[in-house]
């Protein structure tokens, strides 16, 4: 497990996404953590010290794990950069295909209806909105 600063972490995360394009998954985990052990935390609580919490981010491709932690100040900048990285790589997901399917179905129906003069379907270009 490699602990990095936020910027190198993002660079490494980008290359992880690139490597996993054809095969494999990328897991990203977010956790609220004080980065201290339970014993230390309890001790700090009993002594009345405020515990500083950070956002722990882990990323793995199944083989290599990288990690970084964000403070309350860093997190907004990081989340903007992280969103950019995600957008660049999420192009594998399906976009809305329904409308395209309806249009291709219409196009197929048109030549069929022109061959058959007696047809219940009207060869209108516009379709009623559902």
């Amino acid at each position: 497990m490699v602990h990095l600063q936020p910027d190198p972490f993002l660079n490494e995360l980008t290359s992880m996404y690139e490597r996993s394009k054809e095969k494999g998954s990328v897991w990203v985990t977010l956790k609220h953590s004080s980065m201290k052990s339970k014993a230390k935390r309890k001790k700090m609580e009993t002594e009345g010290e405020t515990i500083e919490y950070r956002c722990l981010v882990r990323a793995t491709d199944g083989k290599k794990t990288i990690t970084t932690s964000l403070s309350a100040k860093d997190h907004q900048k990081f989340q903007a950069s992280y969103a950019t990285v995600l957008k660049a790589h999420m192009n594998a997901l399906k976009k809305r295909e329904r409308r395209d399917k309806k249009r291709t179905a219409e196009v197929e129906q048109k030549p069929a209806s022109s061959k058959n003069p007696v047809s219940s379907k009207k060869p209108l270009p516009t379709k009623p909105l559902l």
Binding site: V26, L30, H32, Y53, H89, L93
Partner: protein, 102 residues
């Protein structure tokens, strides 16, 4: 594994779960480019909520949820957020002459 069908329900329940136990809860994202699938999981090691999708539109919703969780986890469970995103609303309000104010 509990897969939740409704996005809004997933968001609401996962934020509740995190607020109930911030020490143990975690938010996990799995992205498989080769299958075109995205799975989100929020768990406190007792209860587990999952959401899976292959739709590009859900990736946008996921970004908003990422922002929510980053804020919650960096600032603490008491951080003020609304499900739609208070910071975004504030930014829109400060922009002049863009669209109607509702």
């Amino acid at each position: 594994m509990v897969y939740i069908a409704s996005w809004d329900e997933f968001v609401e329940r996962s934020v509740q779960l995190f607020r109930a136990d911030p020490q143990l809860s975690r938010y996990v994202t799995k992205c498989r480019h080769c299958d075109g699938k995205l799975v989100l999981k929020v768990t406190d090691n007792r209860e587990c909520l999952k959401f899976k999708t292959d739709r590009a539109q859900d990736a946008k919703k996921m970004e908003k949820l990422n922002n929510i969780f980053f804020t919650l986890m960096a600032r603490g469970p008491d951080a003020g957020i609304s499900v739609s995103g208070k910071e975004q609303v504030e930014q829109q309000a400060s922009k002049k002459g863009r669209g109607r104010r509702q």
